[in-house]
Symmetry: C2
Subunit: 402 residues, 2 copies
């Protein structure tokens, strides 16, 4: 059981945040700071791209030193990726500056960046911005922080949930950014989660990995995987529960369910904000032999430009969906497949291909569309979330840097 | 040595062709027939998509019975894919009808279809159209046939070359269709090649597979792989050379070079006609450890929507290129990579990222753009051809069926 609440990353006890304009972008907020009043257990999940941005390299290092942190400092407008040694020095400078203000080790600060690749950070502006953000820290600052991490996002993404662990009310809050270059294995998406739960580092990491697999790794906007993606979580124990240490502990299930719900909600917000998106699409593949095969088939459909443009045009072109399952690499019998658009069967087993174009069109005219592909060969299933591909996507991405 | 010549599939001796309107499309030609005066050695390469259209299934069967053919009959406007048992009966009917007119076994006819997936063929119109095409067969009919196989193509694709084998002039001719859903492992692309060479079935197949790997399997428009793709070749021996039987035979190299050149030329035409394409892009990855890794990296870049939209916008966003190599799955050291746009180095080793935006922009304003990625870790290389992703791509694909 978990319930939605307000307040984002400052909803849990003992967290403050701020978001300011430091000068990377022309006028909008471009720097965010999230601070826990006390040392928090920390965990992260990072991009699988071999070309990892400097902050990704640094955070892995910091979490390896010890899995605790007091703060996360984030800039937007510049990804600090493909910036070599100087990029790493700049990321370190961001951590050191924040650490000095908090009077902790620089390894107790995590750093994150998003924006243009291949340009050096305007580090002086950023360090001055960290000063400003620090003096502006507030226990209602989540909104500003959420604004500070946005790039091409059109709305800010902030969520909070409560659940009960060990008789104590535990709160989780999250902010995220991302609206394109979103793909499985993390894309240009950042998410920062705070909670006042007490939990061991190893368990926090395990729960985060699992929840990420079922949320951020199941969304795709354009199939590209970025250099900067990360999900970070800080758990400061202010809720007062006995520390969770094992998946068998009572309350662990409550927390992991709440975390999954929180990450799924942020994921869906990212898809809804997909660059140029006009429709939210859920691809559900069921009747698969294994969950992995279901996921693979769903990802293939969700990544198909031909499927996404057809849905943009509200065209019930189910053949493109079956074709995308066909080249996904899984083994199945095409004869046995059925496909539904919402409740409307558009393909029945053994190629029953008579359906009402009118009814299918009605489903496709909605803003949210569920497409179900049943392979009829097993009981495993998986869901993927994506959006349509519109002319606006091209317009946004044709001139991103300029 | 090979030279370009005119005439397409009717350029080689002993071939006739026709293209007619039978009624699948509203007004345009939608049926093509290519006939060899005598029995020809035949070979084919087919889609890897598990969801294979009826004609793909049928042609594999016919070539397995015996690797010879007299004719290829093709319809456009309807793919006869995902059409089950009836689809297979319809494809067989096309072969039988053509075979009767030629007085041969139906297994000596190959069938091909392209167009909308998941609708039954208007088989009566097609059978009547085969009659019309048969009476219109001509040794200058290649152009009509090339028109008859088009779908969203904006120009017809026809090529011919000559080379010398065993002292005899050998001619090769080809027609192709395709302008979207083009991806490695064959996409909605069809190519039909004729030659008057005398060659054994096994060698013809081997040479075709190799030439396809270096041409049609190295182009991509949108990464989708279709249900219908095929390359078919008929070799009728009218040139009078001693039959080629082994790659060691003198002349085999001449022929395979000419075939590769012909398929590459058709491939590039398909990319140039990429739906909504405004630019032709060559992605060259060099300095790789193996050709397979070079190909994998090049394919990843060529398939990236973010790269393709940036080039559409003439934006020198090389970071997206490096990121696409980063998630291609190959192992490399990002520090060592250099990237050129034309002759302009935009990324030098060890993240030398100072370059003239103006010079890079000048390259990107051209219609043909060569992007070279040097991994600096070996000597293998591979080339991929693709086009930019424009708003028009979306417009074309949003309403393909309607």
């Amino acid at each position: 059981m978990h319930n939605a609440t307000d307040g984002g990353v400052t909803a849990p006890k003992g967290f403050q945040a701020a978001g300011v304009h430091c000068g990377i972008k022309k006028a909008k907020k471009d720097l965010a700071l999230i601070v826990s009043d006390t040392m928090a257990t920390a965990a992260g999940v990072f991009t699988q791209n071999l070309v990892a941005a400097a902050p990704v390299v640094l955070d892995k290092e910091h979490l390896a030193v010890r899995p605790f942190a007091r703060a996360v400092v984030v800039n937007s407008g510049n990804a600090n990726a493909c910036t070599g040694e100087q990029g790493l020095r700049d990321a370190r400078a961001m951590a050191q500056k924040t650490a000095r203000l908090l009077n902790v080790h620089s390894t107790d600060v995590l750093v994150s960046s998003t924006g243009v690749i291949g340009q050096h950070l305007p580090i002086d502006e950023i360090l001055a911005g960290i000063d400003t953000a620090f003096s502006g820290l507030s226990c209602t600052g989540s909104n500003d922080a959420a604004e500070g991490i946005m790039t091409t996002d059109t709305f800010l993404k902030e969520v909070a949930f409560t659940c009960v662990v060990d008789g104590k009310k535990v709160t989780l809050g999250g902010i995220a950014k991302g609206s394109g270059m979103i793909a499985p294995n993390m894309a240009t998406m950042l998410a920062f989660v705070t909670t006042d739960l007490a939990i061991s580092p190893a368990l926090l990491h395990a729960v985060l990995v699992d929840a990420t697999r079922k949320s951020f790794n199941r969304i795709t906007v354009d199939g590209d995987t970025s250099t900067n993606d990360m999900v970070l979580i800080l758990a400061n124990g202010a809720a007062g529960n006995r520390e969770l240490g094992s998946v068998e502990d009572p309350g662990c299930r409550e927390f992991s369910d709440a975390l999954e719900a929180l990450l799924v909600k942020l994921s869906k917000m990212i898809v809804l904000d997909g660059e140029g998106a006009t429709k939210f699409i859920e691809i559900k593949v069921k009747g698969a032999t294994t969950e992995e095969e279901a996921e693979r088939a769903a990802r293939s459909v969700a990544n198909s430009n031909l499927v996404k443009t057809a849905i943009n045009g509200e065209d019930a072109n189910w053949g493109r969906i079956l074709a995308a399952v066909g080249y996904s690499g899984i083994t199945f019998n095409p004869d046995e497949v059925s496909i539904n658009f919402g409740d409307v069967p558009v393909l029945q087993r053994h190629y029953g291909i008579d359906f009402s174009e009118e009814c299918a069109k009605k489903v496709l005219q909605e803003k949210e569309i569920v497409i179900t592909v049943d392979l009829h060969q097993g009981t495993a299933e998986a869901v993927f979330w994506t959006c349509d591909l519109s002319k606006e996507y091209v317009a946004i991405n044709a001139n991103y840097r300029t």
